[in-house]
């Protein structure tokens, strides 16, 4: 065979080798330490940060807003309005983490004094972290936090620019962030917030949202009270199909609905969406965090329902070491690890984000059907998301080595 001529053809390998060596010879010997693409990645996703509390304010009778800055004085990171952050609370021997939606806008995180804010309301049950935040947290305290988590944000490629937000209780927070971002001209959507509360005392950040509404005609807030409050001039009742239609002048095809609130609300809203034929792609639900009652989850074994106090032995493998800790049937594996003071990375506490991907080596574990984040192959090999997995026997798990 011949490409150009025998000598030229057979000399190819030597030719390309010589070229290579020459290119090395002519190169600079100055180390190039730059990696601008990693720099952008770090600006958006710096990982866990030390955050110092800069301000704590009351925002309703039962809620507080807590603002954080970076302890190292570096600029706060980028994120999308609607995303949540994870905070670690050192309580006694344990480190307990909780996800909180950021209630301040991403634009408030820019500049030298940029901050992020969360709102914490004291719930009726399981409120010990909420109590802790309300009573103990004060300016100057430092916590570890991971900002910019979750998928609950406006995505122009998918969502309509006409957005109706449906909020209940503390579920107003992502929309407070979005509203501020819209008012500052950083997010180009028309935002109508339907906000359900029992009484006007329960409305969180009412003043702030009213001020935004006044200065920006792209944001509209409709408070709807379910309680029997004399003198209330606004909407009364529940957020139902009729009301959703009333506030969707563009039609359900051309409106994206974002829903955030207590778990019970989701069922009613789904039903209303079905009634209105809202396309699936127009429905965005925020995950709702740790299940309050595991026995209420679909598929939880009948014979275990009155035995959720049962304490099992959980063997935790990290590297070449093993530790045995107690684990209650009614609590997630992550909760057992936290109680035992074993640090593990966990994010949404809803089984979605996958931060706490964990291998179950032996034993039986109930996986919440709401744990939609598991990969198919992971399922085949016994991986679970530990925040949404509950022991049904003594068990052995393997988790990544982490800082204490």
């Amino acid at each position: 065979m011949k490409v150009k001529g025998f000598l030229k053809d057979v000399g190819g390998a030597s030719r390309v080798t010589k070229t290579r060596l020459e290119s090395f010879e002519n190169a600079s010997d100055r180390p190039d330490m730059t990696d601008p693409i990693a720099d952008v990645a770090r600006a958006w996703h710096p990982g866990w940060l030390d955050l110092v509390v800069s301000e704590v304010t009351d925002i309703s009778k039962t809620s507080k807003a807590v603002r954080f800055r970076r302890a190292d004085g570096e600029p706060m990171q980028y994120f999308y309005a609607g995303q949540y952050m994870v905070l670690d609370f050192p309580i006694g021997e344990s480190v307990i983490s909780r996800p909180y939606t950021v209630s301040s806008a991403p634009c408030r995180a820019r500049g030298g004094d940029g901050y992020v804010e969360i709102c914490v309301r004291r719930p009726k049950e399981d409120g010990f972290i909420a109590d802790y935040v309300n009573e103990e947290v004060k300016p100057g305290d430092t916590f570890r936090g991971l900002i910019g988590c979750g998928q609950f944000y406006f995505e122009p490629l998918r969502d309509s620019r006409t957005v109706v937000a449906i909020a209940g209780g503390v579920g107003i927070t992502p929309f407070a962030s979005m509203a501020e971002e819209v008012a500052d001209g950083k997010l180009d959507i028309d935002l109508t917030i339907l906000y359900g509360s029992v009484s006007s005392d329960d409305i969180i950040m009412r003043d702030r949202l009213e001020a935004i509404e006044k200065r920006c005609d792209k944001v509209k807030v409709v408070n709807i009270l379910s309680g029997d409050e004399p003198g209330w001039k606004g909407e009364r009742g529940f957020i139902d199909a009729r009301r959703i239609r009333k506030y969707s002048p563009a039609g359900v095809e051309n409106t994206t609905y974002f829903v955030c609130g207590p778990q019970v609300m989701y069922g009613f809203i789904e039903k209303a969406f079905d009634e209105l034929d809202v396309p699936k792609r127009r429905r965005r639900f925020e995950v709702f965090g740790q299940a309050a009652d595991v026995t209420a989850l679909e598929g939880y074994p009948e014979d275990m329902k009155d035995k959720t106090d049962t304490e099992y032995e959980l063997t935790v493998v990290r590297g070449i070491s093993e530790t045995v800790i107690p684990a209650k049937a009614g609590e997630s594996l992550v909760t057992a690890l936290e109680r035992a003071g074993i640090r593990t990375e966990t994010g949404c506490r809803s089984g979605e984000c996958g931060f706490c991907r964990t291998k179950v080596l032996s034993g039986n574990v109930f996986i919440s059907p709401k744990s939609e984040g598991l990969r198919a192959a992971d399922r085949d090999f016994g991986y679970v998301h530990a925040c949404a997995a509950y022991p049904l026997s003594n068990a052995k798990i393997r988790i990544p080595i982490a800082q204490k």
Partner: protein, 508 residues
């Protein structure tokens, strides 16, 4: 608490395909191996993620070197040998080419492919088949020469085509076939999998590309590339390899010119006889070697001389109708407003608009890839790292969406409906995403560009001289075989073999 043994035979930095492949080969030889992976799962970009309850492939378009059950190729054989039982699905076609004046669906098989070119360009069959046979010939030589060395005279005798084409670019060899433009266009679309324009792409690489993809077809795992990564990791653990996730390695410890361990971000110092590293030599020689004085100037010159290749940008859509309902007929659509690869390569050095797009609809190889009544559709361009170096954190979101809008508009025009009307879930992956999850230098997934200046034949000849620190080996796209998931596995073997050879030599 003691997490690590006092000593390992080998520490592998990075639990992606190359690192796992190296670990598996070493474990097969009874070596005590520790793999440290920064993310919380194996695979690097060979992974998947879940959005709204739907699992989505992160990166794999088609896996090479697998082959049908009765025609297993090298990576497929390796998995079979180790009992890594992956549920491979064959990709039904090579690609649908939508090029200037051409709409043609091409299939694997050298003769089939040549016939399909001939249907578009009558009379081109013999020449096209001649070219493809040459590719297959060179490809088989590459396979043979990668396992056995021989004298120059022997090489010329037994591997004539390989030797005689080694000094030429793809363009130079294609020109010698004197093919009509449309035939050339139909032979070009796979170029993106090796990422250099034909005037600078070594023909040897083109030959491997066409020899394998057109010769043997391509495959995907049923449960996404995560199935492959996870099964490799699980097998490695079964064979005694310790894999630790979420462990970022900061430093490679070197003493008297020899790698002897690592330090992790958590501060653990771990010791071993050998280190295999998946991080780019650029990162290693400028930031990771401790003490830095162990890095010779030649190592810095080498990394400075080499040009980084491509990164990745994908818009991945989950659509709210099935592929059939939407009229999507092909697993892969390669759409080019031009098929001049040099021009396409130039465009990849910008932030768009891009005129060469590759699209994948997984459901056409794997009907159950997404829930009934939905399908996945991804649009990918592989921009050069240089283009993205200019994007600031402030600009990032805007740039990311402007490109997405262009890609989605172009493909909507081609498909005849607006993709935006059907988006159930969407994800935009960028070079920044790659950097975030894998830590790869400048988000570069393709390693160093395959060019005439950085030719694979030259890489093979100078490999020993480019070894600057004893007992430190590299594995990943930045190594000899370059980019791609199949080549990643091959790069891992090479690193493991180097370790095994040194062990043997030093034992003597």
């Amino acid at each position: 608490m003691k997490y690590y043994k006092d000593h390992y035979d080998v520490i592998v930095i990075g639990g992606a395909l190359a690192g796992l492949s190296a670990a598996l080969m070493l474990a097969e030889k009874g070596k005590d191996v520790l793999v440290l992976e920064r993310h919380n799962l194996p695979g690097g970009v060979a992974t998947s993620f879940v959005r709204g309850g739907i699992e989505i492939e992160a990166a794999l378009h088609e896996m090479m070197y697998i082959g049908d059950k009765d025609n297993r190729q090298k990576v497929g054989k390796f998995f079979d040998r180790l009992g890594i039982d992956i549920d491979w699905l064959k990709v039904p076609e090579a690609y649908h080419a939508s090029l200037p004046g051409i709409e043609a669906t091409m299939h694997p098989g050298l003769e089939t492919f040549s016939k399909e070119v001939d249907a578009v360009v009558p009379g081109s069959y013999d020449k096209v088949l001649g070219l493809l046979n040459l590719c297959a010939d060179v490809y088989s030589s590459v396979n043979e020469l990668s396992v056995r060395s021989m004298s120059k005279a022997q090489m010329l005798l037994k591997h004539e085509a390989f030797v005689k084409t080694a000094g030429y670019s793809t363009k130079e060899v294609l020109d010698s076939f004197d093919l009509p433009q449309k035939a050339l266009d139909l032979l070009a679309p796979y170029w993106i999998y090796v990422g250099s324009g034909f005037s600078d792409l070594p023909f040897t690489i083109y030959a491997v590309l066409m020899g394998e993809y057109v010769g043997n077809g391509s495959f995907i795992p049923r449960k996404f590339s995560h199935e492959m990564s996870l099964k490799m990791a699980e097998k490695a653990e079964e064979m005694g390899v310790q894999i630790e996730y979420r462990q970022h390695v900061d430093k490679i410890l070197v003493k008297d010119g020899k790698a002897c361990g690592v330090r992790t971000a958590l501060g653990h110092e771990i010791f071993a006889d050998y280190v295999i590293c998946s991080a780019y030599p650029n990162t290693v020689y400028t930031k990771m070697i401790e003490p830095a004085s162990e890095v010779p100037a030649e190592a810095i010159k080498m990394v400075n001389a080499r040009r980084l290749s491509l990164s990745a940008y994908s818009v991945i859509l989950i659509l709210d109708k099935s592929a059939e309902e939407l009229g999507i007929k092909d697993y892969s659509i390669f759409r080019g407003k031009t098929m001049d690869t040099d021009e396409c390569y130039r465009e990849l050095g910008t932030l768009g608009p891009y005129s060469y797009l590759t699209c994948i609809c997984h459901n056409l190889a794997n009907p159950d890839a997404t829930p009934p009544g939905t399908c996945s559709f991804s649009i990918t361009v592989l921009p050069r790292v240089d283009a993205w170096k200019t994007v600031t954190a402030d600009d990032y979101d805007r740039v990311k969406h402007e490109i997405a809008d262009q890609l989605v508009a172009d493909m909507s025009e081609y498909l005849g409906f607006d993709l935006k009307d059907h988006v159930l879930e969407c994800v935009i992956e960028t070079p920044v995403t790659v950097a975030r999850y894998t830590g790869m230098y400048n988000g570069c997934i393709y390693g160093y560009a395959h060019t005439m200046e950085d030719h694979i034949v030259a890489r093979l000849q100078t490999a020993d001289a480019e070894h600057f620190i004893d007992h430190l080996e590299f594995s990943g796209a930045h190594q000899i075989s370059g980019d791609g998931m199949g080549p990643a596995v091959v790069n891992g073997w090479k690193a493991a073999k180097n370790v095994l050879n040194t062990m043997e030599k030093e034992a003597e």
